[in-house]
Each structure stands twice: as C-alpha cells, then as structure tokens.
C-alpha cells in the first residue's frame, strides 16, 4: 500500500472572478489521520490559502462538515484510510451557497434555527425555587433530539433542502421537536404555528438521508415524522373543537 493519498479539493475564490475548480494535493496516508488532518497538512505545508472551518477536532463543535466523495461527512472523525487508495474528492457541503473553497454560508440555517423558537416556553408564570422534576424516562423522551451539533450535514444530504431553500430543514425541525417533547416546555402551540406549514414538516417527503448521514444519531427524519403525527392530531382536534370555542 502506498503511503500517500491524493486529495482533490474544491477551490473557489470569488475575488478571482473564477469558477469553482478542483486542485489535487498529495498528503501522507497515516493510519491515525482523519480527513481533517490531511486538509491541515495541505494548509500548513502545501498551500496556506486553502479555506475551511474546523475547531474541536473531536466531533462535537460541528464545524468541519464537507462532502467527501459525494457524502456529507464530519471530516475530523473520518479516517483517511477509509478511502485508500484514493483519490478523495472533497467539496463544500451541498445545497449551501459557497463563500470560499470549502466554506459555506450558514446565515440562512441560523435564521431557521431561531425561527422554530428553540428555548423553553412557559405559558404560566411558574418560577420554581428548585428544579423542575423530570424523571429519567421524561428525559429519555427528548434526549436523542438534543444531541444535534448543528453540523448541517443533514441539509447537505436532503434533496428537498436543495430544491426548496425555504424548507426549514431536518436539524431545525428536530430541535423544535426536542423542545416540544421536553416535559418543562409549554411552547408546542407556538411551534406548530411555524413548523406545521408547507415549508416546515410538510415539505419533507421522507427521503430519510438526513438520518443516514447524521453523525450524532439524532435521527431528524424520525423527529419530522413524529411532528407530522402530532400536527395531524392537533389539526383534527382543532377541527372538531375549533380554537377559542371550547
């Protein structure tokens, strides 16, 4: 086996007025190197102008997502070895506008996160002097959906998010669902108003790829389908007992 591997890295610099292109670099192939280590080798030793995001290098900050051989991947926790003998094609995440090289524009994603009201909403003025009681079972009900690191791999995997830029998208809906399921929260009505719209849950056609690529096993697809069940239940309820009348 060879001890180097070729990385074909997408390059784009708006200031060159140019079109995106691929550039190849040869990096050492070490058994404990992640794809991100390969990129850092390029940045440190071969070409200091390559732009990409990373920080924690331990799969928790959510900044290093890229398309690796066409799959949305968290590069700091994926071994280079998995792709030997290469070459490996590295591109910015699909379905996002590209700022430069491997860096995509996340403004829209952040706006969507905010839109679903991801915080504990209380309708009463209840200000307990101590903690809200929450049994381990109640915690378990939403815990999985609270593990999202906002890496946006699911957006890159979901074709609907590519087709419809207004689609609120898997991670944001999963987050809304996380709060709906939290026994301390009372904001479900507000969130239904936002998420049970066409651009919310109903845009999702259950492609399911969001859950396949999710590195933290959040299973956003499951969250969306559960949300649909809830929304349907509420719809029939309000159909039978119109709001305000009961």
């Amino acid at each position: 086996m060879s001890d180097t591997i070729i990385l074909e890295v997408a390059r784009f610099n708006p200031e060159d007025g140019g079109e995106p292109s691929y550039q190849s670099y040869e990096v050492p192939l070490r058994p404990d190197w992640m794809v991100l280590d390969g990129l850092n080798h390029i940045k440190d030793q071969l070409d200091g102008s390559l732009a990409f995001r990373w920080s924690c290098r331990m799969g928790i900050c959510g900044s290093c997502g890229m398309m690796v051989n066409g799959m949305p991947t968290l590069t700091c926790e994926t071994l280079l070895m998995n792709y030997a003998p290469g070459p490996i094609r590295i591109a910015p995440l699909d379905h996002f506008p590209v700022v430069k090289d491997l860096v995509v524009d996340l403004d829209d994603f952040l706006a969507k996160l905010q839109k679903v009201r991801p915080w504990v909403v209380r309708k009463d003025d209840f200000k307990p002097a101590r903690e809200f009681m929450q049994s381990p079972a109640q915690l378990e009900a939403f815990h999985q959906f609270s593990l999202c690191i906002n890496c946006t791999l699911c957006y890159a995997a979901c074709p609907v998010s590519g087709l419809d830029p207004n689609f609120i998208g898997p991670a944001a809906i999963a987050l809304a669902h996380r709060y709906n399921l939290d026994s301390r929260d009372q904001g479900i009505e507000d969130r239904l108003d936002i998420v049970s719209q066409h651009e919310g849950i109903w845009d999702c056609t259950v492609v399911g790829e969001c859950s396949v690529v999710c590195p933290k096993h959040v299973d956003p697809s499951l969250a969306i389908q559960q949300f649909k069940l809830t929304a349907t239940k509420e719809w029939f309820k309000s159909f039978l007992l119109p709001r305000g009348k009961h």
């Binding site: 102008s49 732009a51 924690c56 331990m58 928790i60």
Partner: protein, 581 residues
C-alpha cells in the same frame, strides 16, 4: 471603514459570553448589547467540556465544604472572597440552566443527579451524561435566541481594543466572510474569549483557543495574572490530545502502569479501594495525578508508544451498561480516535495541557484595571482557581462570572461618559492600516506561520511542562523573544479578503506569542512549587514570599514586568493539602 456602536460589546460567544449577554438582556431590555465571535457561538470551545459543573446540591453538603475543596485545591492561591461568592452563586446558576432547558442527568425520582469529581469531598458535580459543556453551550445559545436585543457579529474576529483616555471604547474586528474591517464602538467591553491551549503542542483545547482576548487586554494595558499556572489534565489520548473526562475516574476508573499496578498509592494519594473514595487515589486533584503519571514515566514503569510514554485508564470493571449510560462520549471517542472499546480494553492516556488558571486580571466584580473593560471565563483570572483548578469548577465559573461581568457592564454603561469619537476612529483606521500593510498586502515576508507556531509550541513544552526549572525556562523565554521578532516578517500567500484563514492564523500567532511570553516569564519569576507550578529547583511551597498572585504587565520592548498581589485570605488559613488520608 464601517462603524457601528452599541452600549455593551462582548468578545466571545462561549459559555461566559453568552451568559453575560443573556444577563444583560434580561436585566434591561433597553440596553443594546452586541456579541462578536470568531466562530458561530455554538462552536465555541465550551462545547467540548465533558464531565460536569460543580454546585452544592445535596442535603449533606455545604457551601463551606465546596469553598474548602476549591481553596485547598488551589493550593491556597485562590482568592477566598471570590471563591465564597462563587460557591454561593453556582447552585443558582445551574438551576437557572435547568429552567432554560439544559438536559441534566436525573435521579429516578426526577431530581438532578450529581457525581463525584476529583478533589471534591462530596458528590456535587451536575452533569448531562458526559456532554455537559455541549448541552450547557447549546442551552445558552438557544436561550439567547429568545432575546431580540442581542446583536450578533458571528465569524467576526476582534483584532484590537480601542482605548481612549484610559478607557476601553470598543474594538476593531474583521468580518471573516467579506474581509470587511469594522470599528465597533461600545461603552463597555467584556472579554470572554476563553483559553490559550494552542500555545502548547499537546493540548485538549480546540483550534480556536489561541488566547486572543488575553493578548488584546494585555496589549491595551490590562495585566495578566497567574499565567504560570497551567493545568495538565491526567488523561488525554496520546496522539490527538483529545480529553477523556475525569468523570471516567469519578465513575470508578483506575489508573494502571505497565505492570497493571494502581500507582497513585505511591504518590501520597491514599490506598486503593475497589470503589471510588472521594478526594483519594484516582479522585485526587489534577496537578497531583498528572505529576504522578509523569513520575511513572521517569521510573520507566509506563508503556512506550509512537507518541511518547503512556499509562492505562481502565474502565473494564465498570461494565458496558454504566459506560453506555454515564460515559457514552468516552466510548465514542475511544472507538473513533483510538480504535479501542473501553468496555473490553484499557485506554492509553498521558497528561495533556488543558486549562489556564491565569488570565486577564479582574476583581471579584469581573472588572479589569482598565475602565470599561471586563473579563470572564477562562480568559479571565478572578481568581477562584489559584494554582490548580478543580475539575468541574470552570463551567460554573463561566456562568457565575459571565453573569457578573454582564451586571458590572450595565453599571458602567449607566455611569458612562461620552467618548471622543474622532480619536477612537483614528485609532481604528490605524489598526486597519496595520492589518493591510503587515498582512494582507505583504509580499516580501519569509517566515512561515506554521514553522513559528511549531517552534513556539516546542519551546513552551520544554520550559513550561509539568516540571520546570530555571535553565529551560530561560531558554524558552529567549526563544519566545526571538520568535516575536521573526513574527514581524511573516510570509503570506493568501491576499484575498474573503474568509482569509491565513490572515487569522497570522494574527492568532501574534496573540499566542504575547501570551506565551507572559506565561514563561511568570513561571521564571515564581521560585517555589505550588499546585500546577512545580519547579525542580524550588521544590517547596514558599508562603512567605509567594502567597501572592503574579501580575504580568506588557512592556513595549523586552520582557514583561512581573509584580505580585497578595492573595485574599478570609476564613481558611494556608495549610497542607491532604488527599487520601
């Protein structure tokens, strides 16, 4: 140049910065608060914290005991008034987090669960499995989204504080996406930029932990306190430096040398017992445990690997169920980065740089000596951590003092005076020119950023490792001085404006060198051994001379000026640190 102005500006979107922002928004919705962060807030390094946050919760525990553990943990270098304030506040802060939705782990009856932690006499560490920092940061970030008064400048890199007439009046910052250089004015500025682990080659810290805020304050004239106090965490994975949380030992993990022997018993840390005993053996404080591991290296009782010596952290006897429910992330990290399943194999670990006890000098109100400048979190030194921080006290610190800094800043805004805007903008234009001439338009530089960074890291490891001595410290100090010269001549290949990560790397290198200089010189000056600062040439603690904080002032030319400030002692006179007895 684009300018904007706010009442309060927070630099840093980690736990401390977000807590400050929420505090301000909650206290007074009329105050216009802005937050500058070089990464999106939820990417901040707080996200990596694993083990938990300490706060008195149980009935059999008292605030005084938490104070005592923290003070003795700090080797009596912590300020006792600050520690008392901290220990009183922290349970309220953790409760607030609970009300904001933090998924704390629970007891079967629905109460918050607590776990033991190193150096703590009682079980008082609140946790969210072993992703406490992640949950804490996301809870804070998501809660902050509720407030429309918080303006965010995400992915905006602060490069300099604007100081006029002895008061801080804002910052210059680069908007990374466009490369636009902005002057952001404010009546009060809070530094919450976190630690500087990247000064060292082998660290648990993320890539963004480059001490920017410490250097910004230092350059603007605020001193850095206790910088020689660098915490080494006993259990890092050998190649990456990724942290295996102390919770692994708190849940009952053992440290074994190459003979399978629980060697901590040889280092005055108590006698081995099958289940963990608080403040003993594996639950000793980090400085002592790291020193013990280093001792095994020196005695040749460790394993040798491609990345240096290591010992074993053994969790096998805990069983799969406990590991899966209490330490899922430990298992995930071991599988991914070491290809080891802790259920079946022991984990190779070695001590790794982890935390800065030192930072920007502040008082108990999070005020720095510079008017209008506040600091909180790992970037600041209040000091509650003294010569050694206890695990799980830092997440509490970012909350308590983040909020405190917020309140102090509000006060400053209310009592503030008008600024001379022209003078401030002139300074901002100066900074813009500096960035353009020294970096963006520079074509004649010869020094590689990567090379200088590596040389700095090597020098720091050599001089400021777990054990220090005069000779290597002097050598490192000279090296850092030399690197600072050479950093004036950096080679830049990327001259674009858009998301120029080479520019930020160059700026970060400058900050790290300033911080490194403060660390080395503070370490050189403290001729005693205390907590994390162990001098081979001065092996004893010296309360006569050094029951005091070192305070480093930057000087334009040459090394910093080191002064000492007395430690605040209230009810707990200095004594011997006793563990395991």
């Amino acid at each position: 140049m684009e300018t904007s102005s706010h009442d309060i500006l927070i630099i840093g979107g980690g736990g401390a910065g977000l807590r400050a922002a929420i505090e301000i928004a909650e206290q007074d919705p009329r105050i216009d608060v802005a937050m500058v962060s070089k990464v999106y807030p939820m990417r901040s390094h707080t996200v990596s914290a694993e083990g938990g946050a300490a706060g008195v919760a149980g009935k059999d525990d008292t605030i005084d005991e938490h104070c005592y553990d923290t003070i003795s943990g700090s080797d009596w270098l912590g300020d006792q008034d600050a520690i008392e304030f901290f220990c009183n506040e922290i349970p309220k802060e953790l409760l607030r987090l609970e009300h904001w939705g933090c998924p704390w782990s629970r007891e079967p009856d629905g109460r918050i669960a607590v776990r033991p932690f190193g150096g703590m006499k009682k079980m008082r560490t609140w946790f969210a499995a072993d992703k406490t920092g992640f949950h804490l940061l996301h809870t804070l970030f998501q809660t902050s989204l509720k407030f429309s008064t918080i303006v965010r400048y995400d992915e905006t890199f602060a490069t300099r504080l604007l100081v006029e007439d002895g008061a801080v009046r804002g910052v210059v910052a680069i908007e990374l996406r466009t490369g636009k250089i902005r002057a952001i004015q404010a009546k009060a500025v809070i530094i919450a930029t976190g630690g500087c682990g990247r000064v060292f080659p082998f660290t648990t810290n993320a890539n963004i932990c480059t001490g920017d805020g410490m250097a910004l304050a230092y350059r603007a004239g605020a001193p850095l306190k206790d910088m020689e106090m660098v915490q080494y965490h006993p259990t890092g994975l050998p190649f990456t430096g990724i942290l295996i949380t102390e919770a692994a030992r708190a849940e009952g993990g053992w440290l074994l040398n190459k003979d399978g022997y629980r060697f901590l018993q040889d280092y005055d840390l108590g006698k081995p017992t099958p289940t963990p005993v608080l403040r003993s053996m594996e639950l000793g404080p980090r400085d002592r445990v790291s020193q013990a591991i280093f001792g095994e290296f020196e005695k040749g009782r460790a394993f040798h690997g491609p990345y240096g010596d290591y010992v074993h952290l053994d969790l096998r006897h805990l069983g799969e169920h406990k590991i899966e429910t209490r330490l899922p992330m430990v298992r995930e990290l071991c599988l991914k980065y070491e290809n080891i399943d802790p259920v079946r194999e022991p984990i190779p670990i070695r001590p790794v740089q982890h935390y800065m006890m030192g930072g920007v000098h502040t008082d108990i109100d999070a005020k720095t000596p510079l008017a209008g400048l506040f600091a909180a979190g790992e970037a600041a030194c209040v000091s509650i951590n003294g010569a050694n921080r206890l695990g799980s006290n830092s997440l509490g610190e970012i909350l308590v003092f983040g909020a405190r800094a917020g309140r102090s800043a509000i006060e400053a805004v209310r009592n503030g005076s008008a600024a001379n805007e022209n003078a401030i903008l002139a300074q901002a234009r100066d900074e813009e020119r500096r960035i353009e001439e020294r970096f963006l338009r520079r074509t004649d530089g010869t020094e590689k950023i990567t090379k200088l960074r590596e040389e700095m890291q090597r020098a720091m490891e050599k001089g400021c490792g777990i054990y220090r001595e005069r000779e290597s410290l002097v050598e490192s100090a000279n090296k850092i001085g030399e690197l600072r010269e050479r950093a004036g001549n950096l080679a830049i290949d990327d001259h674009s404006r858009t998301f120029n990560t080479q520019l930020t790397a160059a700026l970060e290198l400058g900050y790290m060198l300033d911080v490194a200089e403060a660390i080395v010189h503070s370490a050189l000056d403290r001729e005693e051994s205390r907590g994390a600062h162990q001098r081979r040439d001065f092996a004893k603690r010296n309360d006569q001379k050094y029951l005091a904080h070192s305070v480093a002032h930057r000087s334009a030319e040459g090394p910093p000026r080191i002064e000492y400030l007395p430690v605040v002692i209230t009810r707990w006179p200095p004594g011997e640190r006793v563990y395991g007895r």
